[in-house]
Symmetry: C2
Subunit: 232 residues, 2 copies
């Protein structure tokens, strides 16, 4: 048994552009899947038009609430299966997305894991930012509490200026505009903020500007998938 870690598109209708051939080959070999959302996973595989009989595939849910036992039982039950695929909702399984549990258990059981190449908004944002890629950190969500969030932004802004490590973070899409306002208000006017919005989509953009320049023309990021970066 081997585990394919299968990335999927991060923007609609981009499968044929962003997925490398190795993903299509892996999907054609795989019959059993651990997926964040069964409906989405079925649609993803179906839309690729690989001639796969979706009804013949076996799916088990692997989301943030999944317990170790579910994965362990799945591996045990299907131990004679050649390949198991792990698919999360968008991008790369295990990177700001569920999937790490399936990999962690596979590693403990000496099951070979094969990560496949695919889109990651974090990596694409970093590439497009122009910030240092020699040292960077993805820190997930900033604190929700206003005071804690302001302290965190001030600390990140100082750390970037001092150490130069690029800081990457995300927000719940309906709070993107509020986060950008906080960043503009708390960072020094000359600090560079990069927004990677809807990357790989035709409407997407990756733009780096000074906080004071974002203040002059704040884009509407409401409900759009965004990555935020501070760096130099």
């Amino acid at each position: 048994m081997k585990i394919f870690l299968i990335p999927c598109p991060i923007a609609e209708n981009t499968s044929t552009e962003v997925l490398p051939p190795q993903i299509l080959t892996a999907l054609q070999q795989t019959t059993h899947f651990l997926v964040e959302n069964v409906r989405t996973a079925r649609r993803f595989i179906s839309e690729l038009k690989l001639g796969i009989q979706i009804e013949s595939l076996t799916f088990e849910v692997l989301d943030k609430d999944t317990q170790s036992k579910t994965v362990t039982d799945f591996y045990k039950k299907h131990s004679s299966v050649e390949y198991i695929g792990v698919i999360s909702e968008a991008g790369c399984p295990g990177v700001a997305d569920p999937g790490a549990l399936a990999v962690s258990i596979a590693q403990q059981q000496n099951i070979e894991v094969i990560p496949l190449v695919g889109p990651s908004s974090i990596l694409l944002g970093l590439m497009g930012s122009g910030f240092s890629g020699q040292s960077f950190a993805f820190i997930g969500y900033l604190p929700i509490d206003k005071a804690a969030r302001i302290r965190k932004i001030e600390q990140l802004d100082r750390d970037v200026a001092k150490w130069g490590q690029t800081q990457i973070f995300i927000e719940t899409p309906y709070r993107n505009n509020a986060l950008l306002e906080d960043l503009i208000a708390q960072c020094a006017p000359d600090s560079l903020i990069c927004i990677a919005c809807d990357v790989t989509a035709p409407s997407g953009f990756v733009q780096t500007k000074k906080a004071s320049d974002w203040a002059k023309a704040q884009p509407d990021l409401h409900k759009k998938p965004c990555i935020f970066l501070l760096g130099k």
Copy 2:
């Protein structure tokens, strides 16, 4: 003018498996390139057999010694060109590789940058480690000085245990075995170390084991491209 950030393979003879169609489309549209190494870039494009006349392409070197002026002059001289491609030696431009300078100057000049999907050994290592992808840091090289390196490893090991942020780092390939020995010696016996070696190559592997288990059977990593991760 727009800037394509063009990833290239990280293992030999894998172009046809790991590169998504959008890279081939971009290369067919691009005539001017900023590249880490002209010979390698020519060979990369040539091997894709896209029918591109390599002799008709314009290349300028963009490596770690390149000054801002070189890039600025290149953009100015070729301002009427539709697309400029940035290609580094392996993987994604700007991520543990030169390229950020070209992007940073493009961002300053409001030139659109378009990061394309491709292989990153850092991201593939993270996916395959089973460690947290909710919070992770790439820190580049550890200190060369023995005492400083030991202190750094001890600090990383403690930080991972305490905060859970996955720590990712690299070493000059001929010192990989020495680094693994240091990790085994300095980390707690139960600490998890992941080695992602030659990922995307048929001989590659991504394995996570306790320090004490690596000690029992240390793989030969000499001169092989590796990513090291500490996490939980």
